[in-house]
Symmetry: C2
Subunit: 300 residues, 2 copies
Amino acid sequence: MSQPGGVWVAALTPMNPDLSPDTTKFVSHCRWLLDQGANGLAVLGTTGEANSFSVAEKRRLLDAVAEGGISGDKLLPGTGSCAIPDTVEMTKHALSHGAAGVVMLPPFYYKNVSDDGLFAAYSEVIQRVGDGKLRIYFYHFPQMSATPISHNLIERLLKAYPNTIAGIKDSSGNLDNMLEMCRRFSGFGVFAGSEQFLLPVLRAGGVGCISATANATIGMCVEVLNNKDSANVDALQNELTGQRLAIQRQVLIPALKSIAARHTGDKSWLVTRPPVVPLSASEEAALFTALDGTQFKLAA
Amino acid sequence: MSQPGGVWVAALTPMNPDLSPDTTKFVSHCRWLLDQGANGLAVLGTTGEANSFSVAEKRRLLDAVAEGGISGDKLLPGTGSCAIPDTVEMTKHALSHGAAGVVMLPPFYYKNVSDDGLFAAYSEVIQRVGDGKLRIYFYHFPQMSATPISHNLIERLLKAYPNTIAGIKDSSGNLDNMLEMCRRFSGFGVFAGSEQFLLPVLRAGGVGCISATANATIGMCVEVLNNKDSANVDALQNELTGQRLAIQRQVLIPALKSIAARHTGDKSWLVTRPPVVPLSASEEAALFTALDGTQFKLAA
């Protein structure tokens, strides 16, 4: 299987008024993102509010995507949780749907854990899953997990499981960290966690980006990707970065749901599961004003 | 029902070599703690590594405790997790065993969430559980959850659910915060999260402590509690504090498991679930040396 790359979207999860996932609308949104040119979907990630779902709810969402005809090679589901049995169950479930890989948070409740502890956790999951088809992308998001993935840890796990450790989603916002991993770990797929860093990471040998805001900026992301060797690509990246920065002035998840509601005219997009709450009216107005100052537009 | 108070132990969870909970040994340990004079047990907390267990594993541990004859009024199980459905399921299960209350972490994956978001999360859980017998103790442990419980949030939830919001376990280590809550919220049970603060919190009108290290210091904790109006109690508290500080120089969970292994002669106590890992030999030696410099002893 070729390594996943390009622009992958950390897909939003629409919800019903009772806060349950709206699987029908979820599948439609996933298809829409692929129709816009997304190379694949990092479903059940931070942006998808997956950390607020039970394992049973997450399983059903993956089942719905598969039943909706989206093939596993377009999927990098998030499967990492605090408890090894949950991570193992979701990872096996992702593999049962032929997922190209999984994006795996480290266990994130206990803090200041050692690399030995994280090595043991990933190792235990890999051995329990026991599937040669498993491809793990680490999820480095210290601002959210408060559990960073160190280069030392990557090196140790690459050495122990060279065929399983496939890459990383780096959502730290630290471009230097991404570039150093591109240099240091050959054959290791580095995804920027934001389209702001798409071009520099591609130029450094990284594989692409997995982004929350790509739910809205997918068109522009694809344009940068398709023109990466063109003379005008830096201008395109600058425009894309402007759109990203306009959105991330607000809390990302509700901001992206506000954009989806505006785009579709469907107010039910605004539903979030606590502790994530919708933007206030003034926050939403500020978001739209900022975005409208860019060339942002969503395809029909 | 009278409000829980006194010395409650955040019970350790012994594990089998395959990392599954050893329910038999767990029940024995719980009984031993009660025999030493613990007023009750905060099972399935941080110290119990409960955040590394699936909901199914946590349910079975609670069932085992009940089958072992420990009555619900001695239990304050931890039930808070990242996902509302999981928190609701565990909370209902705790109530089905007649638990005196539950210690409820806020959802802790998403960071920098607003008090509106945390209010919505607790409110949703309370409404879904829908049981007049529910008594919630907040779990304020910013160093671990990275999601503090503000006084504003407590005030709002007390106003909305006066019969349900029962108190807090404050593991911040910030005595001023504990004392201020004792002053500010009447009828709200403030447990210090460490026996280091047992006496000052009792004197300020708090109800006691819920402590990890009480797995080892339970005898001395009970002595402080029983002598709280005696002239020599400050000396007793100082000795207890010295024992606590000696233990917390090391990572608490494996340190407490090392102490349990030494005390019982049962090396299987050393098993922890990743990301928590056992102490190194030198860390364990340093722990024992520090403890042996106090009057620490465990009852037979």
